[in-house]
C-alpha cells in the first residue's frame, strides 16, 4: 500500500482517528506521518532504558511460563507479578514490598545497586539512620578505591567526615 499523502513511499504508519464519532483511517509513510504531526502524538522515541527493561522482563516471563510458580500478587492493588512483567509497570507503592525478592535482582541489573541514597522527604517516611548511612558510604568508598575512582572517593571521604562530625556533635 502506498502512502495516501505523498503516493510515493510505502505506508508503514496506520492511524485511526475518532473525532465527533467520525472514524478516519490514514495510511501514511513515516515521513508524511511525522510531517502531519501524527507520529509525534502516537509514539515516543525508543529509549535504550525501556528496551533494557523489556528485555529483562521478557526473559523472566519466558522462564515463568516454563516453570509456573504460585502466583505472586500484591494484596493492596491486586497486580500480579506476571502482569508487571508484561506491562513493565507496578500497580502501587506496596508492590515494591510484595515483590521484594523478585525486584531485588532486577534493580541490581538496572541500577547496579539496590539501596537508595539521596534526598529524603521532609515528612512521612523517616530517613535512614546516620549509622546506616555511614556504613553504606564507607562501603561505597571502599568500592571506589578498588575501582580507582579517586575523585569520587575523595567526595565520599568528605561526606563521611561531615557525618561523623555531626554525629559527634549530637
Amino acid at each position: 500500500m502506498l502512502c495516501q499523502e505523498c503516493r510515493k513511499r510505502p505506508a508503514t504508519v496506520h492511524v485511526t482517528k475518532i473525532t465527533d464519532d467520525q472514524r478516519t483511517e490514514m495510511n501514511l509513510c513515516e515521513i508524511c506521518a511525522r510531517e502531519l504531526g501524527e507520529v509525534e502524538l502516537l509514539t515516543e522515541p525508543k529509549f535504550s532504558l525501556q528496551s533494557l527493561l523489556a528485555g529483562l522482563l521478557a526473559h523472566e516471563a519466558s522462564r515463568a511460563e516454563r516453570r509456573p510458580v504460585a502466583e505472586d500478587r500484591c494484596s493492596n492493588c491486586g497486580l500480579t507479578y506476571q502482569q508487571f512483567t508484561k506491562a513493565g509497570r507496578l500497580g502501587c507503592s506496596q508492590c515494591y514490598a510484595a515483590f521484594e525478592t523478585r525486584l531485588e535482582p532486577l534493580l541490581r541489573r538496572i541500577h547496579g545497586a539496590t539501596a537508595h541514597t539521596g534526598k529524603v522527604p521532609a515528612q512521612g517516611a523517616r530517613p535512614r539512620s546516620r549509622r546506616d548511612e555511614l556504613a553504606m558510604l564507607r562501603h561505597e568508598l571502599e568500592m571506589c578505591v578498588r575501582r580507582e575512582e579517586f575523585e569520587r572517593a575523595a567526595e565520599l571521604r568528605d561526606r563521611i567526615r561531615e557525618l561523623e562530625q555531626r554525629s559527634g556533635e549530637s
Binding site: 511525522r34 502524538l41 522515541p45 532504558l49 507503592s93 545497586a113
Partner: protein, 359 residues
C-alpha cells in the same frame, strides 16, 4: 493561557554557560503519593482527589510574581492544538497530551517549571533551563518538590527511595538531561563512536527530532540511566562532567573543520542561509537541518546578527502544532510547508535588518 504561542519558555532564552553547544537542560523528579495506586490503576475519584490536593498545595505559594506563579490546567480543558504546542515546547510528553481523562499539568508563568500530573507517575516535576545550568534546574525542582510535599505524603521507602511505577526510575526518581547541538561531530562522522562510549558510561542518547538513531538537525539528548544508589548531586555532577567532555570534543571538531575545510564550511552555512531566506516551501525535516547549519554559522562567527534564542525559537515555532496555533486553524501539510517557509524568511530578515541598523 497554557502553551500560549506568544510566549517563549524559559529554556528557549538561549543564554547561559556553553550556550554555543548546549541548547537546554532539564531535571525531572518522579514522585508518587502514598495510599493511591499508580496512575494506570487509578479510579476517577482518586485522580480527582489528587488534583484537589495539588490545588491546595498551590494555594500556599505565597506572594509571587506572575512569572513565578504556578497554575494547574486539566488537559481536557485545553484545546488539541494547545496540547500539541506544550509537547513541542517540551513541557509535556506526547503520551501525556492524550491523557485527557486524568491528566493535568502545572505550569509556572515563565514555563521553567512544568509538573505532569497523572502521567506514568502521579507527579513528574520538570525544570527546564537554557544552556548548561543543571544545578539551578535541580535546585528549582527540589524547591517545587518541597512545596508540593507540604500537602502530600510521598510514597517513599528508606531502602528504595521514592517509589515509582517503573523500577527504572526508583530511588531518586531523577532524570537529568542535556540537549546538545553537535554538528561538527556529526560532519566528521564521530557521532556514532561518541554514542556508544556514552552508553557504556551509563547514559542514554537519543535524537530530539527524527526517529531511532537518526538525529535531524544534529540535536541530541543525553540523560542518566541510573536513578538508584547514587545521590542527586552525584547524578547531576556525572552528567555535567560527561557533557563538558562532549563540549570539548565538539569544539575541537569545529576548530578542525574551520582550519581544514573553511571554504566548504562557509559554503554550507551560506547555502543554508540562502535557502532559508528565500525558499517558499519548507518541510519540517529540511527546516530543522538547515537551521542547524545556520546555527553553526552563527556560533563560528560566519553569520552575524542571529541569536541562539532566535534560532531555538524558530525550531519550536516551525513544528506542526505551533504553526497551526499561530495560524489559529488546522493547516494541511502543504499549507504548513508554505507557512513554515514564510515564518523563517520573515524572522531571519528581521534579524538581518536589526543587525544592520544597530551595527
Amino acid at each position: 493561557m497554557a502553551g500560549s504561542a506568544n510566549r517563549l519558555s524559559k529554556w528557549m532564552e538561549g543564554t547561559g554557560p556553553f550556550s554555543d553547544i548546549v541548547i537546554s537542560c532539564r531535571v525531572r523528579l518522579a514522585r508518587n503519593v502514598q495510599g493511591l495506586p499508580f496512575p494506570h490503576l487509578m479510579q476517577d475519584s482518586q485522580a480527582e482527589d489528587l488534583l484537589q490536593r495539588l490545588r491546595q498545595a498551590l494555594a500556599n505559594q505565597g506572594a509571587r510574581s506572575a512569572d513565578h506563579r504556578m497554575t494547574l490546567y486539566r488537559l481536557r480543558d485545553l484545546a488539541v492544538l494547545d496540547r500539541h504546542v506544550l509537547v513541542e515546547k517540551h513541557l509535556i510528553s506526547p503520551q501525556h497530551a492524550r491523557n485527557v481523562a486524568h491528566g493535568a499539568v502545572i505550569l509556572r508563568g515563565d514555563e521553567a517549571v512544568s509538573v505532569l500530573v497523572n502521567e506514568e507517575d502521579h507527579l513528574r516535576i520538570q525544570c527546564l533551563f537554557p544552556a548548561l545550568q543543571l544545578e539551578q534546574a535541580w535546585q528549582l525542582a527540589s524547591n517545587v518538590d518541597d512545596l508540593l510535599e507540604r500537602k502530600l505524603e510521598y510514597a517513599f521507602s528508606p531502602d528504595r527511595g521514592y517509589l515509582t511505577a517503573c523500577p527504572t526510575n526508583v530511588g531518586t526518581g531523577l532524570r537529568a538531561s542535556v540537549m546538545l547541538h553537535l554538528p561538527a561531530l556529526v560532519m566528521s562522522n564521530q557521532a556514532g563512536r561518541l554514542h556508544s562510549s556514552i552508553v557504556k558510561l551509563g547514559f542514554m542518547v537519543r535524537g530530539i527530532y527524527g526517529e531511532g538513531t537518526e538525529a535531524l538537525g544534529n540535536i541530541f539528548q543525553f540523560s542518566n540511566q541510573i536513578t538508584l544508589g547514587r545521590s542527586e548531586v552525584d547524578i547531576i555532577e556525572n552528567l555535567r562532567s560527561v557533557t563538558a567532555q562532549i563540549i570539548e570534543q565538539e569544539r575541537s571538531a569545529r576548530e578542525l573543520l574551520r582550519k581544514e575545510m573553511r571554504h566548504q564550511l562557509e559554503d554550507r552555512v551560506w547555502r543554508a542561509y540562502g535557502i532559508l531566506t528565500h525558499a517558499r516551501v519548507l518541510s519540517s525535516a529540511e527546516a530543522v537541518q538547515l537551521l542547524s547549519d545556520v546555527r553553526l554559522g552563527k556560533d563560528l562567527g560566519i553569520l552575524t546578527g542571529l541569536t541562539s534564542a532566535g534560532l531555538t525559537e524558530l525550531l519550536v515555532m516551525t513544528r506542526p502544532g505551533y504553526l497551526q496555533k499561530l495560524a489559529d486553524r488546522q493547516l494541511s501539510a502543504a499549507e504548513r510547508d508554505v507557512q513554515r517557509a514564510r515564518l523563517i524568511r520573515e524572522k531571519l530578515r528581521a534579524a538581518a535588518a536589526g543587525a544592520t541598523s544597530s551595527g
